[in-house]
């Protein structure tokens, strides 16, 4: 990766892989070492190999290249597979980092130069060479002036072993490639102050190299993830070096920008939050002292500000609609605050649903005038809230005396989602919420009914109008009410089958009645069926979340059945051990099945 310039503190990291042995050799001969020649006088490696400005580098390069030919015949594995190095630059600062990175689980072949000491220690037959190699690599103070001595050392590397030499060669090769491509400069003399001249001042250079060794690479999570993918793509042969270089540079800039954006957002949020909290505290402290006209005026100003913000943000940042949507949502909620404020000032007390219906009436025109999805969300919330309050209101036409079953709990959200879908700007995420709620609530009701025969009483009265309308909408227009990950058939099956046990059950469960016992048995089956339906639909539409959720429901169903059947025997140790074994087996089997399903999922 190229140094980003400018700030000079961007951690730079590059990863390379040698191609075939032939390619590696060609790189070395054709270009790699040429580039290195222009660079090595300023580099750490140059120092490590005891090169200085007086040496005839070309001679050494030719020797190294010849060694490649020799090694080709020795090493069936070829030249090192992958190599990654991290270099930190700091402009105007001597802190330069370089560190070997983990090559992942497949790291097996050539070792980096810094590991040569380990190799040397494993070959006690050549103590002099060991010391020489280790010193060359790890001690920057070692700086032979004699070219012949340098060449002799390179020759002696054969005795150290092909691993050690491969490590050196791969390091040199990678540096040369990197330099040529401009991706990675291990030491940029001008940027970092690492010049060959600097090494004449040995203690200073040594200090710098120590800094190099102890500098930790800094990499964002995004870049780490990207690095894994790059590695995989390289192994698959999908990524050329040039493309990788371009992608790294582009992503590095993106991540850099993203980081600063996050910081700005965090600071902005913190500042705004503190300002708002301070204002709220001031208002709260003096609430009673404030005249009602001041309170109402403040509310009106804020409402106008929210609306204007939503409008302006939508125009100024069309690519980031979330901000405008958030403001629209806040303005919708602020309307409810206005109703509460008037009620408090004038001591008004009415049926609770009336306040919600007033809110809905005041917010509803925004669905046509603002055309924001957030308005649909506000309308959905108002509908669910209002209908739910109506079912609990004595004087309501939708009064439900008892709603333990799923009718009200699932019917009202379905009704609200169905109605909200007819707005000019509908919010698709409402379908996801409703689908998730229908699935989770349905599972809970079915599990509880199957296990304990509770949640069986329903005396909906006039609440049937709401529940029935919701269920009918869910079945009639599932594409507007339920999750997009579910196809129409799945949606209808989930809704219909969820209520099936309660249709058989009637108003309550009576032990001994065949139909009611059948309903309880059916609840067990239906719970598993809707879990499998969710897995199937998720796999077909490529929704990993629904696959996971389906397996979770499956697991919950199996465990509930187990404890339902064998819960009384859990006091004994054997029963506990069996339970543990069962759990492990279930987790293994289900996880294996889940992974298989996710792998086979067809992206939507």
């Amino acid at each position: 990766m190229r140094h980003s310039g400018g700030r000079g503190d961007l951690p730079v990291r590059a990863s390379h892989e040698f191609g075939s042995r032939q390619q590696g050799k060609q790189d070395l001969e054709a270009g790699g070492l040429k580039s290195t020649a222009a660079f090595e006088g300023q580099s750490l490696v140059g120092t490590a190999l005891a090169l200085d400005e007086d040496q005839d580098r070309r001679l050494i390069q030719e020797r190294v290249a010849r060694r490649v030919d020799e090694l080709d015949s020795l090493d069936p594995q070829g030249v090192g597979q992958r190599r990654r190095h991290v270099v930190c630059h700091k402009k105007g600062n001597a802190a330069v980092g370089s560190q070997l990175m983990d090559d992942g689980p497949k790291r097996s072949r050539a070792q980096a130069a810094l590991h040569l000491g380990d190799v040397a220690e494993s070959t006690p037959a050549e103590p002099e060479t060991d010391r020489g190699v280790r010193a060359m690599v790890t001690a920057p103070r070692f700086r032979p002036q004699n070219l012949e001595l340098q060449a002799e050392r390179l020759h002696r590397l054969d005795r150290v072993g092909k691993k050690a030499l491969l490590g050196v060669l791969s390091f040199v090769h990678q540096k040369s490639l990197s330099t040529r491509r401009g991706q990675m400069s291990i030491v940029d003399s001008r940027a970092s102050g690492f010049r060959c001249d600097a090494f004449r001042n040995r203690p200073k250079a040594a200090r710098r190299v120590r800094q190099v060794r102890h500098t930790e690479p800094v990499m964002s999570r995004d870049l780490s993830l990207l690095e894994r993918h790059f590695r995989h793509w390289r192994e698959e042969g999908l990524l050329s070096a040039e493309l990788e270089s371009s992608l790294r540079e582009s992503s590095g800039q993106l991540v850099n920008r993203a980081t600063s954006t996050v910081v700005r957002t965090a600071l902005g949020g913190l500042g705004g939050g503190l300002l708002l909290a301070g204002l709220i505290l001031v208002v709260a402290e003096n609430w009673e002292a404030l005249h009602r006209s001041l309170k109402l005026g403040g509310w009106a100003l804020l409402q106008l500000a929210f609306l204007l913000c939503a409008h302006q943000l939508g125009r100024a940042r069309p690519g980031r609609p979330a901000l405008a949507e958030a403001m629209s949502f806040v303005s919708g909620g602020w309307m409810l605050a206005g109703i509460a404020l008037v009620s408090q000032i004038y001591q008004l007390d009415s049926r609770p649903p009336n306040g919600i219906w007033l809110w809905l009436a005041l917010v509803l025109p925004a669905a046509w005038l603002l055309e924001r999805r957030a308005v649909a969300a506000v309308v959905f919330i108002a509908l669910v809230w209002g209908f739910a309050l109506e079912t609990g209101q004595i004087d309501s036409i939708f009064r439900a005396d008892r709603g333990d079953g799923p009718w009200i709990w699932i019917g009202i959200p379905l009704l609200a989602a169905g109605l909200a879908s007819f707005l000019p700007t509908s919010a698709r995420f409402l379908r996801e919420w409703t689908g998730l709620w229908t699935f989770v609530a349905g599972n809970v009701f079915l599990l509880v009914l199957g296990a304990s025969q509770d949640l069986d009483r329903s005396d909906l009265g006039r609440g049937w109008w709401l529940a029935g309308a919701g269920v009918l909408l869910g079945i009639a227009i599932p594409d507007q009410c339920l999750s997009r990950a579910w196809d129409s058939l799945t949606s209808r099956l989930v809704v219909a089958s969820t209520f099936l046990p309660w249709i058989l059950l009637g108003s309550r469960y009576d032990a001994g009645l065949i139909l009611d016992e059948l309903a309880v048995g059916l609840a067990w089956i239906v719970q598993l069926v809707i879990a499998i339906l969710a897995i199937r639909a998720g796999a077909r539409r490529g929704s990993e979340s629904w696959v996971n959720l389906g397996y979770l429901a499956l697991l919950a169903g199996i465990l509930t059945r187990y404890f339902d059947f064998f819960g009384d025997y859990l006091e004994g140790g054997i029963a506990l051990a069996l339970t543990g074994t069962l759990l492990l087996f279930i987790l293994y089997t289900l996880e294996k099945a889940r992974r298989r399903t996710v792998r086979g999922a067809v992206p939507a």
């Binding site: 106008l304 206005g338 109703i339 008037v342 004038y346 001591q347 007390d349 005041l362």
Partner: protein, 184 residues
């Protein structure tokens, strides 16, 4: 932008118009006081408030304000009634007490001076009758830091209400033993 202005105007006019209407009621509507038996609860959402509990929400045959003749007139041949009614208030000293009932749409008659909307449940019992009235007077919000002149379970609490003919009463001010309480 025009749509935004339309929406903003609609929402602000609705809320501020609603507030203005109540300002008008406060300014123009006649008022009277009804006796209370309040409680003083507090919750995190609503803050501190009185549960007003007007004395006339539960009346039986021992009540002096409601005559047995009025009950018989209202019920006629029926033994019970539950539904919306007009509640008449008669002066009893400085305060007013519920003293008459009329069915919705019926022309109120009798000694009552003010008639408001309410919900009544009236049943004849072995030894008299029992009337439960819902006058729509449930809560009265009071500032958390306000020092009340007496405990909420003491006698003497009254509520001044704004009277709107044919509509429900609106709470306006708290009184304790004839003295209004300044909430600010």
């Amino acid at each position: 932008m025009r749509r935004l202005l339309i929406l903003g105007a609609f929402q602000l006019l609705a809320i501020l118009g609603w507030a203005s209407y109540h300002e008008y009621v406060w300014a123009a509507a006649p008022t009277f006081r009804v006796p209370l038996r309040p409680r003083d609860p507090f919750d995190l959402i609503r803050g501190r408030y009185f549960v007003l509990n007007p004395q006339d929400t539960s009346i039986d045959a021992e009540s002096t304000s409601f005559s047995p003749q009025e009950v018989d007139r209202f019920l006629g041949s029926a033994k019970a009634f539950a539904g919306r009614v007009q509640v008449g208030f008669c002066a009893a000293g400085e305060i007013h007490r519920a003293c008459a009932l009329a069915r919705p749409g019926e022309r109120p008659a009798g000694p009552a001076r003010y008639w408001s909307k309410g919900f009544a449940t009236l049943t004849k019992q072995d030894r008299g009758w029992k009337l439960d009235l819902d006058l729509g007077l449930r809560r009265f919000f009071i500032p958390s830091r306000l020092q009340l002149p007496g405990r909420e379970n003491e006698e003497g609490w009254e509520l001044e209400v704004s009277y709107r003919p044919g509509l429900s009463l609106l709470p306006r001010r708290l009184y304790f033993r004839g003295t209004p309480i300044d909430l600010r």
